[in-house]
Amino acid sequence: MATAFTPYSYIQCPCSDITPTDRRSGGSPTTPEPDDDDRAFDPRAPRSSFSLYPLEYLMYCEDCHQIRCPRCVAEEIVTYYCPNCLFECPVCVGPLAVTSVETKPDPNLLAAPDNSAAPLAGPYALTCSYCLWTSTEVGIQFDKPNGIHAQLAKLRNGGTTRLTAKERKERRKDPSYKAQPPPPDSQDLDHEAQFANLKAFYQGQLADPNTADAGLALLGDLGFSSPTSLSRIMSIYTGGSLLHDKKAKTRLGAMREALDPDEGLLVASLDESAAISKLRSEGLDGTASTAQLVGQPPNMVEPPLHGNERFLDTLRPVPHLLRTKRSKRCPVCRHIISKPESKVQTTRFRIRLVAGSYIPSISIRQLALSSGTGSGTSASGPAVPGAPLEPLKPAHFLLTFKNPIFETIKVTLGAPATTPGRFASRVTVLCPEFEVDANTDVWDEALKNNAERDRELRRRRGESVSANSGGISSANQLEVGKIWERGRNWVSIVVEVVPASLALAPGNPPLREDEDVLEIPMFVRVEWEAEMAGDEVGAAPSRSNSEAREKRELAYWCVLGVGRIRQR
């Protein structure tokens, strides 16, 4: 009652059929098959929620002439890509754009209109167009507008550069650098550098076990600091056979631990007074939220311990996750039914066979009828769209079938007389069999010769009295076997429902969620004639020739949600 109900129609993919597709071809089922005609589809069955899809979600295989759903198609990755090497805003997760940081002030701003249409020059920053966050807030600027990821890996917050692991290795080899001792500031050790230093240190220890530190000899007996256990541990973490030294097993000499930053020692900075005073001055608004911290990528660039990423001004740009483009294959015949353009930038598809261009769409609208119209059929009160349905009072719904293909289709509908479930509403399809004209070009229609058009108009009038759609009209009549209205490639028919009462006998379990929704299971059979196999269904028909044409047929269950029944 809170929100107005929007009618819907969902289609069941044939893949959810218990008996597979070989049933029709006369395969030998081992279990006795239940009589298909008696087995009406129950949209409320727990399995059904996995097989019902809106038309827009469904694909269609032109070779099998069958509906395919996201559950039964086979997917293949066409391309991997990170969407244009984009970054997300660390504050609001909006996309970041590379913009030029122009600092040159223009003194005559208001007086003289800007005349320099010069191309934007560096330095560059990543900027969020939504919350206006910019990487300059953490002191990060870029020299080039491209290759941001690589540039970011070398930049610390505040803009100082760091050495990458490769550069550090090269520098270590360089004798001129080796001569001078590295700065002992442990804050220069970022994640990557610390690991590299530690690894180099322990490798050196393994190679030369004689430098065993006497002070750790006691522990050596327990095997904690022996090269053997160390190489075992290291091989767990590095996964390589690099440290796997068979000879080391026999050695039991103890090793010393790292003693300075160059060996990978990082002293934890427990002094948090700076953070506390910052919290005092900036308040809680200056701190990063849990979601923002979780969104941060592991920062290999900063020192790993203490004091990082608690404040908003330490957050770094977040790289987009890796994405894929996928093609879809028919599970039966392996033909491709959807294939996107492999180029990252384009959103076009090479192949995309969507069900909406092969099977008719069904739209549902409640019909408002003044009492007294129709031939003896009782009529419903004024229909407010989405209003609850009165129990035990007949209501009428207009189903409009729109034909997307270039052939006239014959539609046959079947619905159980009462809806399945605890509350059986009565359902009557007033016109269960009808034809829907082809989806001809609007201009074809207009340019048809007069005689042909007249004939067609007469045919349309013969079946239905033309009237304004939907309004209270005496021209449209609720007559069994008559369609309500017909257009170029669509037909409207009327379904009468008598909603069940939701009253429950004492002792029955209470109403389940959405049990008050009146859902009509409906079997739809679509028949049409198409050119012989090989041609596409969607191809334009050649009217003049009398080529061999074959009958095609498609049948499926769908469910129509028409409204909620009023609860007392």
């Binding site: 609001c92 122009e102 209109p113 800007d114 919350c131 966050w133 910019t134 608004d285 908003l312």
Partner: protein, 238 residues
């Protein structure tokens, strides 16, 4: 053709009284903009008033600075009932003002019409003032009631500035530059510091881009284009 295309929108009728105006000669104002009310409406140089924008001086004086852009269906000076949601406010406020003008608002209108000096105090108390380089995007609403929108501020699509709110410092220097993201709102009477970004359901942060010059240049360039695109008809409102 174009009238057919716009037929879903209610017609922006020039209902209500015609306000006294003071329009700069260098301004661009579309023929279908709506200026209504009883107090003075002032628009300074090189500003652009888009078609169907609405300047309403029923409550008080409306002043728009230099190089401002007021987009389609934006309302400046709507009465501060606060009933309408920001999304439908353009439609609602036009309906409301046409309904309310004979009843509630007519006393103020009569005073303002008869004696200018006597009414000047209520005029400023209920005024709307926009600084320079202000952008009011599509469907945004700025309520009347001593409301001040500081220099360089962007009021995003469908955003709402409540009555008496002050965006940026009260002295209109080139230092304000607040940003209201689309569909955001500033409650009535709120004072928002310079360079504040209002986003995501009322969250606030500070714009530290330091791109004031760049932004103003961009706006100046945009105005250059708009002046060529929008046929101006200031005579209609004079």
């Amino acid at each position: 053709m174009s009238s057919k295309r716009h037929s879903i929108l209610p017609s922006a009728s020039q209902s209500g009284p015609k306000p006294p105006v003071h329009l700069s000669s260098s301004l661009t104002i579309a023929d279908s903009a709506v200026l209504t009310g009883t107090h003075q409406i002032t628009v300074h140089g090189e500003s652009v008033i888009h078609p169907r924008a609405r300047l309403d001086s029923h409550a008080g004086r409306v002043t728009i600075g230099r190089r401002c852009v007021v987009h389609e269906r934006a309302t400046i000076g709507s009465s501060s009932s606060g009933l309408a949601s920001a999304r439908s406010s353009a439609v609602l406020s036009s309906a409301r003002s046409s309904m309310a003008s004979p009843g509630v608002l007519s006393p103020t209108a009569a005073v303002a019409g008869s004696g200018g000096e006597a009414a000047s105090q209520s005029t400023t108390a209920q005024a709307v003032t926009l600084g320079d380089y202000v952008t009011v995007e599509v469907g945004a609403v700025i309520e009347a009631g001593g409301t001040v929108v500081g220099d360089g501020t962007v009021v995003g699509v469908g955003a709402r500035v409540g009555a008496g709110a002050v965006l940026g410092k009260r002295d209109l220097r080139h230092e304000n530059h607040c940003t209201l993201t689309p569909q955001s709102a500033v409650p009535p009477g709120d004072v928002v510091p310079d360079f504040t970004v209002v986003y995501a359901n009322g969250m606030r942060r500070t714009d530290r881009r330091g791109m004031v010059e760049l932004k103003n240049k961009g706006l100046a360039r945009q105005i250059e284009v708009l002046r060529r695109l929008i046929p101006s008809n200031p005579a209609k409102f004079a």
